[in-house]
């Protein structure tokens, strides 16, 4: 039965909700904190900041990651920057404006109260990062520098050259390592969470595989926090790192946690195009490049001339043409779709015809090569390493690629899922970006969740809950351990003829074709036939080499692909049911002049899916969204 979910949004005016809520929360006595334990799965920005902050408060924290070191989490790859409503540039920014931009940018599919809180705490994140030694860019007077980013008309983005994610992660990681040193955080690396353990209706532990030895371990705690990142790798080729997976979130989903808006995925407009069959991942070229680069395609179809031989009059600077006020800075979903249209018209460039130009000729002419190199040197270098072409001399070729997932586990205002005691942070939850995330907002959200939200809401949960002690010998732990072991044995024993990689690739093709930049009813229905068939074949014909009690990367991958094969189906189902276009979800049937057409009357809600078993369809629950501050309007960037 479909339910209406309660987001537990506090009462009061939008700017008072979080302050009042914090005051009303119950506190845990400092001496009692040591008696409580918290598991944190994932040590990217969200997990590392949460583990450090909870450790500082005195909780006993156990942190887990699949990586060899927390410093390698995928957050490390973020290039462009992090937003904060500091208004250091005196250009009209404010908490309210950041809030407004994010709600609008998310195409009115995010919860207002969460977004406002995020905008409020954004300013503290920068202070915290700087205090912990993050070398954010400075100007000549020694003050922090900003740039404009991702379709914003104010300069609110803080950055550390093209390595903002790396520097912020190293900041949060070092704070966490300090807590490890102090004995407040116990770090468990190269451990993959493969199940959630629920005792008496509450999340009380996890089952992990030690990736080095294959041992299946049980860990218990009073609270479980998932900060395990996003699921763009369901598309096989994406800008995400190889180990990014839905597994932690998916196992929780199969234990009852609702999965919200799985079809909201972000396709980033500026990535290096696919070059061949063996390609393993796509590389992002930071959006900041669009500040100085101009996007174009030839006016003629199938124009095979070298770009420098095409005169200006025969170029179509289509973003500038279609969106005169935002031009090349149009938001991601819009810019991606426009690139697709141009290529569909036969005006794409490069070998495959699936690319557009991002041209720095005019900026270099105006500012000189050295200024451009100061701004984007490392990106230009990366581009040249990958393509063998020099972007100072000829335009970059770019194409959209899967990049970020707005969907994720459903959480209420406290970041608690529908399973009591299970909290979800960072990209793994669905909460703040609606149907489209603005650039430089994911780092903000991950750190905001970990530094400034969870330390309060987790405390409140502990203070309000009578938590009996549970032992690892409890039946629920044993049962979960057995399930995990038997699934691994099953995978190992198939000994089929196809590699894990080949299944992942095929799934990726299906997802990109039918659930990518443009979706329609017929295609989604087709995908809903193809995916279960592929999944069936996987369980009969996959080949996992090696042994399960050694390091075995193929076995790890097989488990992750098995989960993607289930998630992919849910994504298509969600996309099919959402009969409107909004943000990154573009249903071809619902558009006006090529722009997304929302249906606020029928779809102004979050769809949160409940798993009901492998052989029965999931149930779609709803959380109604109310817009009391930002007036519902059609997004326009023209």
């Amino acid at each position: 039965m479909s339910k209406i979910l309660d987001g537990k949004i506090p009462d009061g005016s939008i700017d008072k909700k979080w302050t009042d809520h914090k005051f009303k929360m119950k506190l845990v006595n400092p001496a009692n904190k040591r008696k409580h334990s918290v598991i944190v799965v994932g040590t990217g920005l969200a997990g590392a900041s949460a583990a450090a902050s909870l450790g500082e408060l005195g909780y006993r924290v156990k942190a887990f990651c699949v990586h060899e070191s927390p410093r390698r989490a995928h957050s490390v790859a973020a290039q462009g920057g992090i937003n904060a409503a500091k208004n250091y540039q005196n250009d009209g920014d404010s908490v309210y404006r950041l809030f407004y931009d994010t709600v609008k940018g998310g195409d009115f599919r995010a919860r207002e109260a969460n977004v406002h809180r995020l905008a409020e705490i954004s300013v503290n994140i920068i202070d915290q990062a700087v205090a912990s030694g993050v070398p954010l860019a400075r100007d000549y007077g020694g003050l922090l520098d900003n740039r404009s980013f991702g379709g914003a008309q104010v300069s609110r983005t803080f950055y550390a050259r093209g390595q903002t994610g790396q520097q912020l992660l190293l900041g949060a990681y070092s704070s966490m390592m300090r807590q490890v040193d102090l004995g407040n955080v116990q770090l468990n690396y190269r451990r993959e969470m493969l199940d959630l353990v629920i005792v008496d209706g509450r999340a009380r532990g996890i089952i992990v595989r030690n990736l080095l030895t294959g041992e299946i371990e049980a860990h218990e705690a009073d609270v479980v926090i998932l900060a395990s990142g996003g699921y763009s790798n369901v598309f096989y080729l994406s800008t995400n790192a190889m180990a990014c997976a839905v597994t932690a979130a998916w196992k929780a989903h199969k234990k009852g946690a609702y999965f919200a808006n799985p079809c909201y995925t972000q396709i980033h407009p500026t990535c290096i195009p696919v070059h061949g069959e063996n390609q393993s991942k796509l590389t992002l070229m930071s959006e900041s490049l669009r500040n100085d680069g101009r996007v174009w395609v030839p006016k003629l179809k199938d124009d095979k001339r070298h770009p420098s031989d095409i005169p200006d009059a025969e170029r179509d600077y289509y973003l500038e043409r279609v969106y005169p006020s935002f031009g090349n800075l149009a938001p991601r979903d819009v810019a991606s779709r426009q690139a697709k249209y141009r290529c569909d018209e036969g005006r794409g460039v490069g070998e495959s015809g699936k690319a557009v130009y991002l041209d720095f000729r005019d900026a270099i002419g105006r500012l000189g090569e050295s200024k451009i190199s100061e701004r984007y040197g490392n990106l230009f270098q990366m581009y040249e390493k990958i393509t063998g072409e020099n972007p100072y001399k000829q335009p970059m070729r770019i194409y959209p690629a899967p990049h970020y997932t707005m969907g994720g586990l459903w959480v209420d205002y406290n970041l608690e899922s529908n399973i009591p005691g299970l909290f979800v942070a960072g990209e793994a939850n669905f909460s703040d970006h609606g149907a489209n995330r603005l650039g430089a907002s994911a780092l903000m959200q991950g750190l905001g969740d970990g530094y400034f939200v969870l330390p309060y809401t987790v405390g409140n949960y502990i203070a309000n809950t009578k938590l009996e002690k549970v032992e690892k010998t409890h039946d629920e732990f044993k049962r979960a351990q057995e399930t995990v072991k038997s699934e691994i044995t099953k995978l190992m024993n198939i000994r089929g003829n196809r590699t894990v990689e080949s299944f992942h690739k095929e799934l990726g093709h299906i997802m990109w074709e039918y659930c990518g930049m443009g979706r329609n009813e017929a295609g989604l229905k087709r995908a809903l036939e193809l995916i279960p068939k592929l999944r069936e074949e996987f369980w009969q014909n996959v080949r996992v080499p090696g042994e399960s009690n050694y390091l075995n990367p193929e076995l790890e991958k097989a488990g992750r692909v098995a989960d993607f094969l289930e998630l992919g189906e849910l994504m298509c189902r969600d996309a099919l049911e959402r009969k409107e276009s909004c943000g990154g979800h573009f249903r071809e049937e619902y558009q006006e002049d090529g722009e997304a057409k929302r249906d606020d009357e029928n779809f102004s809600h979050v769809a949160a899916w409940e798993w009901t078993g492998a052989n029965s369809p999931p149930v779609r629950h709803k959380e109604e969204l109310k817009f009391e501050n930002v007036k519902l309007a059609t997004r326009s960037y023209k």
Partner: protein, 264 residues
């Protein structure tokens, strides 16, 4: 695809070792029809796909971001950490750097502080323990003052940033004949010593991190500079000089006489 794309054939001599306690040896593999547009790791992916199809165990190597930023990847190609291309991690190394018929020897990082896990993978957790021993600023969440109330000259901020770009891959250790972790440790020490926020703990930080480095079994620095030459992020030797100064100062000054000078 660039205009110069070609297909090449290579021979790989790869270190195979089943687990930390097993004995390893070199085995030879053919990599056929490799596109020069592919990355080195994509070339290995293809070799692995073939191995799996034949029922063999694929070659294990560490990797994740494949963009040169996470520091997961890294092994020796013909005795060079991350291979022949300067300032490049092996995941960013493309097959354009090689030619038809090349015979390449692939080995894991070799250092007693980096035990081998399997094939080309080594355990670098010792580096985390060096960071744990003071590679941070003690700033609990919540107490920070406004970020712009701390002024940092652009030059200091840039220098600190340059040191902070270390990705912790371990190439410096692997390239050093003494397997020293000086460049890695020094990069963190100078990153924090260059910033006003890092001054309070400056002395204890250098002392503790160096002590941990020694305790992990890393070797001594004899200033040959091969670490910096192999570093994919071009971390400069200047950092080592800075750390030596920090360390000396820490030894000379008493607890309460922390020097708050501005670094170099």
């Amino acid at each position: 695809m660039s205009e110069l794309t070609k297909k090449i054939n290579l021979i790989l001599k790869v270190w195979r070792q089943k687990g930390p306690k097993d004995v390893g040896s070199f085995k030879e593999y053919e990599a056929k029809g490799v596109s020069t547009d592919a990355s080195f790791l994509e070339m290995l992916d293809a070799v692995n796909e073939e191995l799996i199809s034949k029922g063999d165990d694929p070659i294990a190597f560490d990797h994740d971001c494949r963009e040169g930023i996470c520091g997961s990847c890294g092994f020796m190609i013909d005795g060079e950490a991350h291979g022949p291309q300067k300032s490049t991690t092996v995941c960013q190394l493309h097959m354009r750097a090689f030619k038809e018929g090349d015979v390449l020897t692939l080995e894991p990082w070799r250092a007693s502080a980096f035990p081998i896990i399997k094939d080309l993978m080594a355990d670098r957790s010792a580096m985390d323990r060096i960071i744990m021993a003071g590679g941070y600023i003690s700033a609990n969440t919540g107490g920070a003052r406004d970020a712009n109330s701390i002024l940092i000259s652009k030059n200091d901020a840039d220098q600190a940033f340059n040191a902070a770009t270390c990705i912790g891959c371990g190439a410096c250790v692997a390239s050093c004949k003494n397997a020293a972790a000086m460049l890695f440790t020094a990069a963190k020490v100078s990153h924090l010593a260059l910033l006003p926020q890092g001054q309070i703990e400056r002395k204890t930080r250098a002392e503790r991190m160096v002590a941990q480095m020694d305790a992990e079994g890393f070797g001594a620095c004899t200033s040959t500079g091969s670490c910096s030459a192999s570093c994919p992020k071009d971390i400069s030797l200047v950092n080592i000089a800075q750390m030596n100064r920090e360390f000396l100062k820490a030894k000379v000054f008493k607890e309460d006489q922390v020097d708050v000078g501005g670094g170099f």
